[in-house]
Symmetry: C2
Subunit: 333 residues, 2 copies
């Protein structure tokens, strides 16, 4: 605290002060149980006295464990993942890990750059939500970091995948729409792989069940509240007016409801609306929004559990964890 003029105190400063070796201080910090109680007490005091803050760059270099995990998501604004990410960050913190946040947009190039950056920092794991190019998959496969894909279940994941079948979700939605007696669905699909899978699942099932013609709009990803104006006004120009709009997100569904009401339509009587994601607004909107719930907290927990055992040296099986989904029927459809 004094004769180290300005520089940060190091492990050696603490050791000197406590009258032990720096190795012992290191052990105390990483695993207090292995040092004698009396020694521990002296070290604790020395840490406080010196104001020691461990240097995790040095620690990570020496142990090749950075205690850092990269989380890669497309956006922060209007993102369906935020609740999941929030849980993840909280759980990781609780486990003594920090997160490196990467925003990929919808570009695989951006994603691959960020994965390189993450590997540069020797992260213990990479959690990714976006599509990957072949080179990146190869990089992920080679890397000692655990590679986690969440919110989807790719064919042959390079690491571990925790998600659900978007195609099945689409099928379920189709069955629901049919069972409620709607005849003219209008699909609003975001321009991304996952949304497209749901759309395909819907169309397959719809046709398999002998549903009639359906209409569609594609919107930029992510689907937002703000897109509703254009989508709705385009929809109004269709020859056959839909009786239900199936949206790619709750925000968009909310927007459609607002537009419909502004146009004097009663929801769901004159126009029904479905969302996706079961965000907080879905249960609170008037009318409440029928949507599909994904257990983001479970995804986060499974992911973190896998990371912890991977860090603990347990060999990670390459596999997929299907957390499923749950259609929640509310007032809007």
């Amino acid at each position: 605290m004094n004769e180290l003029n300005g520089r940060n105190p190091t492990l050696d400063d603490v050791a000197l002060q406590a009258g032990v070796s720096s190795a012992t201080v290191s052990r105390f910090i990483n695993n207090p149980a292995v040092v004698a109680a009396a020694t521990a007490e002296r070290i604790r005091a020395a840490i406080t006295a010196t104001g020691y803050i461990p240097n995790l760059l040095a620690g990570g270099l020496a142990s090749s464990k950075s205690k850092m995990v990269a989380v890669l998501i497309p956006h922060l604004v209007d993102s369906m993942f935020n609740a999941t990410i929030e849980t993840m960050v909280a759980e990781l913190s609780a486990a003594g890990m920090n997160v490196m946040l990467g925003l990929t947009g919808i570009s695989t190039t951006r994603t691959s750059e960020l994965i390189r950056a993450a590997l540069s920092r020797r992260v213990d794991a990479i959690i990714s939500t976006g599509p990957l190019d072949a080179e990146t998959v190869e990089l992920a496969r080679r890397s000692p970091a655990l590679f986690l894909q969440v919110w989807e279940l790719p064919e042959d994941p390079p690491g571990l995948a925790v998600g659900f079948s978007h195609r099945d979700a689409g099928r379920d939605i189709a069955r629901f729409v049919l069972s409620r007696g709607y005849r003219h669905p209008h699909l609003v699909t975001a321009d991304g792989t996952r949304a497209r899978l749901r759309r395909d699942g819907f169309v397959e099932e719809w046709q398999a069940q002998g549903g009639g013609a359906l209409t569609e709009t594609t919107v930029a990803i992510p689907s937002t509240f703000g897109q509703a104006r254009r989508v709705f006004s385009e929809m109004r120009r269709l020859d056959q007016q839909p009786d239900i709009v199936v949206c790619g997100s709750d925000s968009l569904a909310q927007g459609i409801i607002v537009e419909a009401q502004a146009a004097g339509l009663r929801v769901p009587d004159q126009l029904a609306v479905m969302g996706f994601g079961n965000s907080a607004i879905a249960g609170e909107m008037r009318p409440t929004i029928t949507t599909v719930d994904i257990d983001g907290a479970r995804i986060a927990r499974e992911a973190i559990a896998a990371i912890r055992s991977h860090s603990a040296g347990v060999p990670s099986e390459h596999r997929s964890i299907d957390v499923g989904f749950r259609l929640i029927a509310r007032e809007s459809a």
Copy 2:
């Protein structure tokens, strides 16, 4: 690529392959201009051949520059900062830096732990949005990292602050409300320091201008769409019904509009509503929401510029940058 059996290639491997010293490879990576063109070419080839990925833990340790900045925000869900953070992350990436994300909730303890974690990683800068306890301020002051507070202008910032006066914003809102002829405002204030400052500014100005009695509700932070139901129903039980609801966020304002319309009130004729933050929904809601715009992109730019010059060794002046705010009158009030 071959005789290093499994381990990551290092600078030495690249150097060997390129027939130069590792120092030269290091120089090439950090400042390509200083090595001869022919050498550079050989190094480039060797990097590709070996699949070299620099180890930033080692690099950071040696240079005491982590090229990492910590961003500390309260929440990810329903956060007014997301747009600002998104710009920041993008700009930092472009500048070759990565971000460590910390979620503080509303706890100063959590904040202080995260700041310690950030210092452990020897981040070049810490961007914080929350309130700090005295000990943390001291920690920040001592640290070589640039300490940035954004979205507010504290009295005596330990580092640099980039934000605006919440009190002045509250005053402006009061003047606007008065100028539009509203007589019975109902304030919905989130339980946080910044929201409270705006509330205080409003009340001061309102009283100074001779406004009459006003009513208030406090809500948990952050103020969300979902809080609107309770707020609205409580409000309806007041003796004196308000003619305008002044909300702490656009989400909440949107929720109030939905509730008001569901109750058969016309907005703004029978009840006006104001938001705060000018989020994407504000301009797209029906009616569009009168709100206060904060130039988040400017905040992000100023912050990143400061970080870059701090990293470049330019001594950072301790000061505040006021980016102001702008009231946007739309349909809802």
